[in-house]
Subunit: 115 residues, 2 copies
């Protein structure tokens, strides 16, 4: 049969989902762009969607994820708060470790497919 691959998705929940691959990617890019709008555009996402994602996340986490400046030099901008960055980094380390482990276990459990 066709070769099988595996994909693992990690999501964090409080009551509702509040952190997943999309949010992580978005925050990562805000960190680079210093702007939510630029971050959204760079991943071909509508600004309104990016804003909603961040908004929901803040509601569910209960603390601000972005520190925001409206108007002024360059029109304003956004940066990731230290608390959010801490979670982001933990999430990324966590995913990396899970995926490394999962790779090896996959070889074991699905070895029979090779025969």
């Amino acid at each position: 049969m066709a070769k099988l691959r595996v994909k693992i998705t990690v999501r964090l929940f409080t009551d509702e989902k509040c952190f997943g691959p999309g949010v992580a990617e978005l925050l990562h890019r805000v960190d680079e762009c210093h702007s939510l709008r630029a971050a959204a555009i760079s991943m071909e996402m509508a600004y309104s969607k990016a804003w909603t994602i961040i908004h929901n996340m803040e509601q569910r986490l209960g603390f601000p994820v972005l520190e925001v400046k409206i108007g002024g030099k360059n029109g304003g901008g956004a940066t990731v708060t230290p608390e959010a960055r801490q979670i982001l980094e933990a999430y990324e380390r966590y995913c990396r470790r899970i995926n490394e482990y999962a790779e090896g276990v996959f070889q074991e459990e699905f070895a029979f497919l090779e025969s």
Copy 2:
């Protein structure tokens, strides 16, 4: 902040997605009910949806997942083929191992949340 939990989703792909939590659950119940219809009803899923899921899966995997009998005693029925059962069991073992590992690592990486 609110207590964080983690959920990990495992999906298998050939070219497209062909195996995930939904399919696993469904096959599991077919195994118990010896009927696709009964399995679907038992998880409050429309038969047509269950059938579509199985159908797609068979297309993508390239071999039959259910052995089917139409008409006759009890009207017919369905059983999981040995090949499919092998994948199902491997998938379930795999998920169990990933989740056990993930639990421990989560404590490590997100320990700072307790402070």
